[in-house]
Point group: C2
DNA sequence: CTGAAAGCGCTTACAG
DNA sequence: CTGAAAGCGCTTACAG
């Protein structure tokens, strides 16, 4: 219990200087070792690393941030419509993948919910150097505020914002997403391959690009196969929306023997409706959908679907943003691979 | 375009000194105003606030952190079993509530996923002063590592850790949760009130305290009503687990006219099984459950349930942790109010 | 290759 | 009530 009285109060945790003292070098050298500077003697590196290990030293983030003028923090922007947002496992999965990847990186992930009353507040926060970059997750077209933001802050979008702007600017906008057209086409083609000829669709909200692209994928496959569309109803990605769309499809004049449903959540709502109307799945109606999550396995029969690797998407968003922050050249669009998962809902 | 050549490079964002200059005071005074020190002239306060507004000044978090030795960051610890974790909307809802509350506070919320290979890494991170406090979300009994952590860092648990330790220490452990016994009792009592007399249950994992408490609530109400248990099967909170438990219940010798299911997710899996066996809900079997989310509304019939106000729980966890960090006296247990939501699954 | 020194933008005793 | 000064723990030109 020696109570040393020095000029400085002892730091709570081991500090750079402490490491330097133990290693017998200056703190400059310790700093160089920590930051992987090549110009340090091997022996110095070894002694410093020993000291670090012995002391359990971890750099003080605030101090480092202050001098480097960066925060080692990235924000995940989430729209305030959180009730819906979080009801959809899709988003939870993106966040999970992102958090997981961030945990293993030097950056920490901050969840930021955009205030609806005061969106300016959130944007200020982002612009004020509180974060080194931002991830924008939004189903609807990203507001122009975010596009504006991406001029001054590294930003990665989870949905490609609409390219209303000039091409030069558009190239500066980075997004990470699946190819929605291809995903829809994969599911629809599978139905065609199973011999279905009257294929309807339940779409996502056509106000979103993802909704329109999924519709397009379905439509293109039908055209290529020389098939007529057998009905098209819009949903909102919720089970209730899927159920309502299924009702409308059944009420329509066009018979159908398959439905491409733009999300598993909607399909889970559509299934009971089909059954209630005496349509057997897959006997009378085959179903293929998108999203491989609890909604595609928690049904009878289980749903054939396209796995969008949503958790990978979250991880890739973070990885891409970090590279962007660190100055790498990043293509405008990063595509996440997708897979068809065949289950009973499309058995032939 | 006057390019001033000064000793210092101009800061990217307005700085304390800039505000001071504009307001005609010293930076000490600006700092005092920002931190709400009472000993500043009204006129000085006014001038400083004007300057702040004019410049859109926002304090640099890193600088403040460095001197205050605190980070203004709190961690939300998430177990790595994220597949299951995030499949359960319960957790997404807690996180949502927490993020929402944090967004409106001075703290930012960092999602931290506990590495299973190297849990020590996460604990180190927490211990090293990277955060001012931590929220522990875990269904299973919190590991003793976290209890240990709570001695050196403000910590709030989302599930009350088992009180194996001495009472004195236990009082230091803060938790925010619903009263699971009361919630289960509320649901079960509702079934009794509807005239059901042969009430079975599908429990959560009995390895968790929440699972055991929900069982206890069911059991107590039955005893108080003078009813015999009509079956008890353990589930794992997933739809598949609920379905399997329902099968076992049906295979048992005891007839039942109601089931208290410990989570809506399990109930959604049990429902189709009951139907498949020709049991009508609510005609033959009434169902009451816990959790008011997509799983309680995405069924036919919709489920009578106890709303656990899970998003409030997340918000309250953050609020409680912040108060703890700021030195307030916090009771060991904060209870979130609950509500019964009556729907068709328990119609009489 | 290495050290001394300055500085990142704040806060806070310490003197007025 | 207010300002000058020191210091929080790092990094990084700048000289050796």
């Amino acid at each position: 219990m020696t109570t040393q009285t020095r000029r400085k109060a002892p730091a709570l945790s081991p500090t750079l200087e402490g490491v330097a003292a133990l290693a017998g070098v200056s703190s400059s050298t310790v700093s160089r070792v920590i930051n992987g500077s090549p110009q340090v003697t091997e022996s110095a590196v070894a002694r410093v690393n020993d000291a670090i290990a012995k002391l359990g030293y971890v750099p003080n983030r605030a101090a480092r941030s202050l001098v480097r003028r960066q925060t080692q923090t990235i924000a995940m922007m989430i729209p305030e419509r959180t009730a819906e947002f979080f009801a959809d496992p899709y988003f939870a999965e993106v966040i999970q993948g992102a958090a997981m990847y961030a945990s293993s990186s030097d950056y920490s992930l901050t969840l930021l919910i955009e205030s609806e009353q005061d969106p300016e507040k959130t944007h200020q926060f982002l612009r004020r150097g509180n974060v080194d970059g931002a991830l924008i997750l939004s189903h609807h077209s990203a507001s122009s505020a975010y596009l504006e933001l991406s001029r001054t802050l590294p930003v990665v979008f989870g949905v490609r914002p609409p390219g209303e702007l000039d091409a030069a600017f558009d190239a500066e906008v980075r997004s990470v997403d699946v190819d929605n057209v291809a995903a829809a086409a994969l599911a629809t083609q599978h139905l065609v391959d199973r011999g279905r000829r009257r294929i309807a669709t339940i779409t996502g909200p056509l106000s979103t690009s993802a909704g329109r692209e999924r519709l397009q994928g379905w439509s293109e496959v039908l055209a290529a196969a020389g098939l007529e569309p057998a009905g098209c109803e819009e949903g909102d990605y919720t089970p209730a929306g899927g159920a309502a769309a299924a009702e409308r499809l059944l009420a329509g004049a066009t018979p159908f023997d398959a439905v491409f449903v733009a999300s598993a959540q909607m399909a889970s709502g559509a299934l009971p409706v089909l059954k209630a109307h005496g349509r057997r799945v897959p006997g009378d109606v085959a179903i293929a959908t998108l999203d491989n999550n609890v909604f595609s396995t928690n049904t009878v029969p289980q749903l054939t679907t396209v796995d969008l690797h949503t958790s990978d998407k979250g991880a890739t968003m973070v990885a891409t943003l970090i590279r962007l922050i660190e100055g790498a050249e990043i293509g405008a669009e990063t595509l996440i691979p997708i897979d068809l998962v065949v289950r009973d809902s499309s058995a032939s």
